[in-house]
Symmetry: C2
């Protein structure tokens, strides 16, 4: 793809900071960076952590090879000392994070990266790119999955986003509760089930709609899905059942008033004896349209544009901030909490944080508790951060099957108050409570 | 990364259509597909074609290698006959398109792909992914560039979008008029100038802001850009000039009321004798915020989130539709115009189209004229489609330097009526006129 490793998914300033820190003697100060967001997208009740698995791949593959070093040298982006340092780069620090699929709230420390300033500062952009993109898609997918209930959701938005963003979007959609994808690269890369049958072009290629249906059934079998809205829907449904018989797998409707058309098509299919033929709808759906079709005789939804664009929120506002660093380059030097303090609403809370989700008496989440220092005893077994990378080595438990992540998300969402799945705009469904470290508590 | 060619940036249904057409004997019918959009994003005055160069790369690299074929076989996505056909796949048709950087309007035939149905149907998703993503970013960039006037625009949105979408976004931003990018991969891949100096983390790493500034100036020279809003802006500006002297290159402000702060900082810099020190602002800018700073003493803008998310419109609604196909598989068979005809506003205009931009007496564009059949004589030298691929071979003129594309966009925008660059919502600045072929005109 033209970019040989993940090393250059990096902002120029990370390398200039590295150079200045190497020269100034601060590069080896132990540092703690945290990923968090100051707010959810407007009106959203919860966020969904997605992309963690891809972050781990990216950190593992972040190496400065000869091509990359040659580019940095030729462009004079950094000096020779820095190039030497980069040539030997391998992340040797620790990464903790919310497990993928978990929900999050404003202030949740979604990921924590700890090591020397030099090795951690390089990871900012690639970590944020992945988490901001994938979490935005997963959040939209999760809302759609809530709205769809037990009906399957097909991800089909590849054509509406960058060709590789599409692959990550299919992955994030699956985490959020989608069932399958149209994107073959997502099937290849992540083993997500792929589906697809035909487009209007296939019908138009033939002299008659009947010829197209027959060609498709001859090739794919009676269980296939026929697209019935190229010309007249009622005529197409009649022809479809004539050609495939009542064993026809499904019909797909891609335009018109889906509520009305789905009812008519269901009635027509039943009259034709095709009681088991399913109805799939696929036209500009979002979570609201899906919810509005809850009472319609629809068996599956295909979602494209609104999924891959995060249903109005194509990115999250996650940031990667230095929250603590050592007083000196001595590995034993104590950590000092740090935070930006200027005006403009961009202040952050300093210090290395823990997070726990407090439950009420019925076992339903009631608060996201974030603190520094000692974790209160009653929250000790409700902690959210898990260890992913230790001393540069990926833990065995860190790389998870996507189905595990998908199940975790479903469970996490089910553990939230019921208002979490209201589609209407509102506040985050859990408040974030900050617990400040007591002086001398460690 | 992990996807060995562009072959799988393809929706499952393209392969099932291929299989059914191969079996049914229609796969070799000569076909014409066109890319167009039925509407611009709401309120936008013009669209910007971007991604053409990437489409050409993708078509050239669309090969089904052993890994891909093995995946398709194992998953039983297509049958053995289709796998055989795919193994020898190489696009042998023709591609015409609006040259990259050109503007477009509803109905503009932005790209035309012609060949057998089989070879053209496979290209739908990858072509749309690229054009829909890149054109959305370029359109936002173009509006921002209009708003910024002569002041440089720095693209810095990598952290807000998928890591490879970010590279394409930096490219599209450059086409739309941006000057540079923070994304090193975009510098590597597309030779776009990269820039960057430091983040708040660098200041926080040091015991005092002064130490951070000194380390940066020692390493990068006095011409560097110091970030002055970690603690108190006025104090930071004073410290910055003390450390770097009046030769300080620039200061960057990343929070607060930028209009107010820029005026104060300019006054303070002037009082300190740093008359040539520039002011760069970078906080959540979009085209409206840029325009509102026109009278402020700002020297450059850094734009992130709103650029890579298309400033409210992260995708275009381009579609890839079969508009004509042969009556039979005979290579000499005449083409028949085809179009979807059902309800729901998704109808299209059939037939292979030409397009031309008609000018008024002052040489300003006054209409986008789209037609089938013979081009009227007065529009013959105003045609928009150019040949890119002929018989499967990329034309020498098709692959263009990005600066050529960027200049073309600036010229195309300058040729539109003045209202094109109004930021307020409105109708497309040119009407699209359809010229229907006269019966017997060819």
């Amino acid at each position: 793809m033209g970019v040989p490793s993940t090393a250059l998914f990096t902002d120029h300033y990370e390398l200039t900071m590295l150079q200045a820190a190497l020269k100034g003697g601060t590069a080896q100060r132990r540092s703690v960076f945290e990923v968090f967001t100051r707010r959810l997208p407007e009106g959203r009740r919860y966020g969904v952590v997605a992309g963690t698995g891809r972050v781990l791949d990216a950190v593992e593959n972040l190496r400065f090879d000869a091509d990359v070093l040659g580019f940095l040298r030729e462009r004079r982006i950094v000096d020779e000392e820095t190039l030497q340092w980069l040539a030997g780069y391998r992340f040797s620090g620790d990464v903790w994070g919310y497990p993928e699929g978990e929900v999050y709230f404003p202030g949740s420390p979604i990921m924590r990266v700890e090591g020397s300033f030099a090795e951690c500062v390089l990871l900012e952009t690639v970590i944020l790119s992945i988490l901001n993109h994938d979490s935005a898609i997963a959040a939209a997918a999760s809302r759609m999955a809530s709205a769809a209930g037990d009906r399957p959701l097909i991800e089909m938005g590849a054509r509406r986003t960058h060709e590789l963003a599409a692959v990550a979007a299919a992955r994030a959609a699956y985490v959020g509760g989608f069932t399958s994808t149209s994107d073959l690269a997502a099937g290849f890369r992540y083993d997500i089930p792929t589906v697809g049958t035909s487009a209007h072009a296939f019908t138009l290629l033939h002299d008659r709609e009947r010829d197209a249906f027959r060609a498709q059934v001859d090739s794919m079998g009676r269980g296939t899905t026929l697209l019935v809205d190229t010309y007249d829907v009622a005529e197409a449904v009649r022809t479809a059942v004539e050609v495939a018989g009542p064993e026809l797998g499904a019909v797909r409707i891609d335009s018109g008033d889906l509520l009305l058309v789905a009812h008519r098509v269901r009635q027509q299919l039943d009259e034709l004896g095709a009681h088991h033929t399913k109805i799939i709808v696929t036209s500009d759906l979002d979570e609201y349209a899906i919810a509005s079709l809850a009472a319609a005789p629809v068996d599956a939804y295909g979602v494209g544009t609104q999924l891959v664009t995060g249903s109005g929120h194509p990115t999250c506002s996650m940031v990667y901030k230095l929250v603590a660093r050592a007083e000196s380059a001595d590995p034993e030097a104590p950590l000092v909490p740090v935070a930006k303090k200027s005006s403009g609403g961009k202040t952050s809370v300093g210090g290395r944080k823990w997070a726990a989700r407090r439950l009420d008496g019925d076992g339903i989440a009631e608060a996201e508790v974030v603190g520094t220092g000692t974790v209160p005893g009653e929250l000790a077994d409700r902690q959210l951060l898990v260890e992913l990378v230790k001393g540069g080595e990926l833990l065995d438990t860190a790389r998870e099957p996507l189905d595990t992540v998908r199940d975790r998300h479903a469970a996490a969402r089910a553990g939230l108050p019921l208002s979490a799945t209201q589609l209407s705009r509102g506040e985050p469904v859990l408040p974030t409570e900050y617990v400040h470290e007591h002086p001398g508590s460690h």
